[in-house]
Subunit: 131 residues, 2 copies
DNA sequence: CTATAGCCGACTTATTAAGTAGGAAATAGG
DNA sequence: CCTATTTCCTACTTAATAAGTCGGCTATAG
């Protein structure tokens, strides 16, 4: 279960947006609240905006906010944006007797995906997600 | 679900040993069967042997074999050897509202570990493992 | 005594992750 | 208009890890 710093930052940033009252939240505030390197965060927020997950407003009183209600954004949404899922990570086609191993990865991947697509940021901020 | 090449090679190598008839299997044979770079494989097998998972014999007619029956060696056994689990990957202590995220990683890690400690190489070679 | 095969540490290279730099372009308020 | 704020954007540098290589030594069966 490897999660890159970038991904964790992205999730934490979105959580901040989900927890904030309506209206734009400046990157600076998120960076401070979550101890994320400012410039790096810019970079990540930019990516999330381009993907249409969040909206933004420049200038004073500007900032970022969620494009959809927190209850309609899942952890998987964020993760797939920042990690990108272009190629189906070469886990298929093991030689000979090792072939069944591929099936195991498949099972793991599936469970992981299921869980991540079921948990929304509304649940995160209210600490309510099913076990 | 990131799995390093090293780890995959290790699992495939052990699978080969589990599937082979009793007696030493030379590294060369494993390398060929699984398309693993020979020198790299040496390296990995050495590590598995030092950990006591496999035994070895030098010289002609030498090779490697499992230290225990395939039914008593789990995928997790191999993985923990080649990846090492020294530090409990910093997933605790998220600031403020992001705290619940840690719980999610915990759930994922737990499920993953459970699955990997339940599947043995006997099951892999016979393609029988519970879903 | 020779061919086979494992043993071993150190070393090189490739890839990815993490974080930085330097500015340009909006926009709210005075 | 002018200024402070804040996002936007590309590219770059550096650090860490993974992947794989090298050279040579040691054991042992026949």
């Amino acid at each position: 279960m490897r999660i890159s710093a970038r991904t964790q930052y992205a999730l934490r940033a979105v959580t901040e947006l989900a927890a904030a009252p309506p209206g734009p939240v400046p990157a600076e505030k998120i960076a401070t609240a979550q101890s994320i390197p400012r410039r790096f965060l810019d970079n990540i927020l930019l990516q999330l905006r381009r993907a249409g997950l969040i909206h933004s407003q420049r200038g004073p009183e500007g900032g970022y906010w969620l494009a959809r209600p927190a209850g309609e954004i899942t952890l998987a949404d964020v993760i797939t944006i920042v990690e990108g899922h272009p190629e189906q990570a070469e886990h298929g086609g093991y030689p000979g007797v090792a072939q069944p191993l591929a099936e195991v990865w498949s099972m793991l991947r599936e469970h992981e995906e299921t869980l991540l697509t079921e948990i929304t940021f509304a649940q995160i901020v209210s600490s309510r997600f099913s076990a």
